[in-house]
């Protein structure tokens, strides 16, 4: 049963990165949209994420619950040493969720809209950045349980080049996911082309940011290169991602939305696989080479058994309902909503 739980943990992380990521990305795209197009972009964005955004962010809750029930020591250690980035991420989540809803449900449209917009786009940028910082910190090997000073224990655990690099990479990835997703949501050719442009740009920036992460890894002595290229699985994953990228760019100009969306999701999945496979089942890598392994630090078996069943039972309800939600609010092929 513990494998069911571990599978759900990674599935929830993946779905959060894909769905929550595209959702954050929509805000990032808005941040980088010119004044001329901003109103139309906002409208497209609202139709695209309005009904589903809340559900997209539920995956984070699932991740957290799995961690604190199934792997409580990992959860509490991360909570202690990554307190500060977690706190900033939470403030981002509060700001973003409320600003998005406020701007659509404020009964009066006036200058307050400007404030909601500002808060929404900036929190869409900051939140995934710190999510990335946190993710980077779990494997950067800078969390030091023997640290004596505030600086060592609570700041340098996450403030390093590698974590910051992963943070930036996450932001760009979100933007990339969103722009590919939005291509299919545009209601006219002009907007379609604009989103294709954005997808191209974010794709290029993503490659650059990815390179930056490798450089930062070298600077911080994180064996990222070995993880990704030292293992057949990592190599195959990177190869598959690159190949699918080429296929995606072939397909992007056709009207079939499904293929680019699946391919961009596939690419992100492969990136996550390449990074996590090499040190699985280690979930957190600590300073001095010690690791928090999912096998070693798991809750007693009875708990894992109950948690596994709870997750299986939950997914029987959640997955069909979620699928029907996405299906129902797909833009109709004739362009109307």
């Amino acid at each position: 049963m513990e494998y069911v739980v571990i599978a759900f943990l990674y599935l929830a992380i993946l779905l959060y990165v894909l769905l929550g990521g595209a959702d954050f990305g929509a805000g990032i795209i808005e941040l980088f949209t010119s004044q001329r197009d901003i109103r139309r972009t906002r409208k497209t964005l609202y139709h695209a994420i309005g009904p589903i955004w809340e559900a997209n962010h539920m995956w984070l809750i699932i991740v957290i619950v799995i961690l604190f029930v199934g792997f409580p020591i990992i959860y509490s250690d991360l909570s202690v040493y990554l307190h500060i980035p977690l706190l900033i991420m939470l403030l981002g989540i509060i700001a973003r969720g409320t600003a998005f809803v406020f701007r659509h449900y404020d009964a009066v449209e006036d200058e307050m809209q400007e404030l909601y917009n500002k808060v929404f786009v900036w929190s869409s940028f900051i939140t995934p950045f710190f999510l990335g910082v946190i993710a980077g910190s779990t494997i950067s090997g800078h969390i030091n349980k023997e640290a004596q000073t505030f600086l060592d224990a609570y700041i340098l655990s996450w403030l390093n080049w590698f974590s910051i690099g992963v943070g930036l990479f996450t932001v760009v990835l979100c933007g990339f996911l969103a722009s590919v997703y939005l291509i299919g949501e545009a209601d006219n050719e002009n907007d379609r082309q604009r989103f294709i442009q954005k997808a191209k740009r974010t794709n290029i920036i993503a490659v650059m940011a990815g390179t930056l992460v490798f450089a930062a890894a070298i600077a911080d002595e994180v064996p990222l290169f070995n993880w990704v290229f030292g293992e057949p699985v990592g190599l195959i994953a990177v190869g598959a991602a690159t190949l699918s990228l080429i296929v995606m760019w072939k397909w992007i100009h056709t009207k079939i939305r499904f293929v680019p969306r699946v391919l961009v999701g596939f690419q992100v999945t492969m990136i996550l696989l390449a990074i996590s496979y090499a040190h699985f089942p280690n979930f957190v890598i600590l300073k001095g080479g010690e690791n928090l392994s999912l096998h070693e630090y798991m809750a007693p078996l009875k708990t894992m058994w109950a948690l596994g069943w709870a997750l299986l039972l939950g997914s029987v309800f959640i997955l069909p309902a979620l699928f029907y939600l996405y299906y129902s609010f797909q833009k109709k092929e004739n362009g109307s909503y």
């Binding site: 539920m58 409580p72 959860y75 939470l90 609010f329």
Partner: protein, 443 residues
């Protein structure tokens, strides 16, 4: 302020903030479902408009509740890592089920809010009901986890180790049912009174009277039923607490000495140093009766508990008085309300509406006070008789700053939500109830 106090304050603030949004988020869908049902049945536009107007409010409250709930799931670890390290595997199952319920709620809300004129109307109606039912389930599950802290079960605590963990037994601990019942009724009463109060105020101002009258009636009926049942559930809870957590009951009642035929102390100022209560009204034998169902029975006082395990008596006592006081007033208003349903002449009379306007905040005051009783009354324990709160707190210094930050955030959010609600209500004549004669009374 030291870090421990700051951590407790931040937790209290976060919970106190979230609980309001959680209550509204789980109860309002039922009000909407009634109004929605009436629209489908009667085809009267006013019900459709009301459902839509309410759903805007719910969207605002749900989003705020969802983010403040997300914050809480992290704060458990950020503030109390040692607690979570041990408690997570024991009391976590209701949380993981709650995750499912919450997820379904979010999905159903997407269908409901964006589904007007898109789906079969009964399907659309049903998605609204699912929002309410899964919200209610979430609430009950979270309370069950809290109940475990009051009534730990499902493990053996041997030499500081947590052995033989059984998370299912932990979930169905002794306290869960009465706590969940009390909280569910409280959610209906508090949301009902708040909503009824707002609409009563609008009727009194003679604005969109038909619209607000329909709204008032739906909310007030839910509120009144819940407020009438609540004292019964409160009695169950009191007996349950007397059995499981005598120190908490003693603090609620400022009951310093164990005695037979113990009096119920109403009001008063507890003098902890001299172990007496000044200026209180004493009802002889009543505490024994309320705690054990027998006027003669013995009620354990704070003297049965070592002094370093006493909860802060004054806070718990005052909070308890406030909760009961608000509850009694709401119960009396409910009785008057039902009388008014029989005597139609009273129903939209201005004095009845004024009563409801005055009662607008009482439910939520009672909810906050009630949670103060539960949580402060358990101190110094975070897990009753097993782990002290002070041993659970994060080792990271500087929590004070995080507390200040969250205080600012929650104050701004509260201001924003009240402002938005105010604008919603102001716009009712334009957005939701166009063209109706503003001063028509319902027949």
């Amino acid at each position: 302020m030291d870090d421990f106090l700051a951590a407790r304050s931040q937790m209290a603030l976060s919970l106190g903030f979230h609980i309001i949004f959680a209550c509204i988020g789980m109860v309002m869908p039922f009000f909407m479902a009634v109004s929605h049902y009436k629209w489908i049945r009667t085809k009267l536009d006013v019900y459709k408009n009301l459902t839509k107007a309410w759903s805007k409010g719910v969207a605002i409250f749900f989003a705020t509740g969802a983010v403040s709930g997300t914050v809480l799931s992290f704060e458990l670890g950020l503030l109390w890592p040692t607690f979570m390290r041990h408690a997570g595997p024991i009391f976590g199952i209701p949380f993981s089920l709650e995750g499912t319920a919450f997820f379904i709620e979010a999905i159903a809300l997407g269908f409901f809010l964006y589904g007007w004129d898109r789906f079969n109307r009964w399907f659309h109606w049903a998605t609204g009901v699912v929002v309410g039912v899964s919200g209610l389930a979430s609430g009950i599950l979270v309370v069950s986890a809290n109940a475990w802290m009051n009534s730990p079960a499902g493990f053996d605590f041997v030499n500081g180790e947590y052995l033989n963990i059984d998370p299912i037994e932990a979930m169905f601990n002794d306290a869960w049912f009465f706590q969940a019942l009390h909280m569910t009724l409280a959610a209906f009463a508090s949301t009902g009174f708040a909503v009824a109060g707002v609409h009563a105020a609008m009727i009194l101002q003679k604005k969109n009277v038909l619209f607000h009258s329909k709204a008032f009636k739906i909310a007030a009926i839910f509120a009144a039923v819940a407020a009438l049942l609540q004292p019964i559930s409160g009695d169950f809870s009191a007996k349950d607490v007397a059995r499981r957590q005598p120190a908490k009951l003693a603090a609620m009642e400022a009951h310093f000495y164990t005695q037979k035929s113990a009096p119920l102390i109403v009001g008063g100022i507890p003098d902890v140093k001299n172990k007496k209560v000044d200026f209180a009204i004493e009802l002889p034998g009543m505490l024994s009766f309320l705690a054990h169902g027998d006027f003669e029975s013995e009620v354990k006082g704070l003297d049965t508990v070592p002094e370093d395990q006493h909860p802060p008596v004054q806070i718990v006592h005052y909070a308890f008085q406030i909760m009961v006081g608000c509850g009694v007033v709401m119960m009396m208003i409910s009785i008057i309300f039902f009388a008014a349903m029989v005597r139609k002449r009273w129903f939209y009379s201005s004095w009845l509406l004024k009563l409801f306007v005055l009662a607008l905040p009482l439910g939520f005051i009672a909810v906050e006070a009630g949670w103060t009783v539960t949580e402060v009354g358990r101190q110094p324990w975070i897990i009753q008789d097993v782990m002290r709160t002070v041993d659970a707190v994060t080792p990271m210094p500087g929590i004070v700053w995080s507390f200040y930050l969250f205080t600012m955030v929650y104050i701004s959010l509260s201001v924003a939500v009240i402002y938005l609600l105010h604008r919603q209500i102001k716009m009712v004549p334009i957005l939701y109830d166009k063209g109706s004669d503003p001063s028509t009374l319902p027949s």
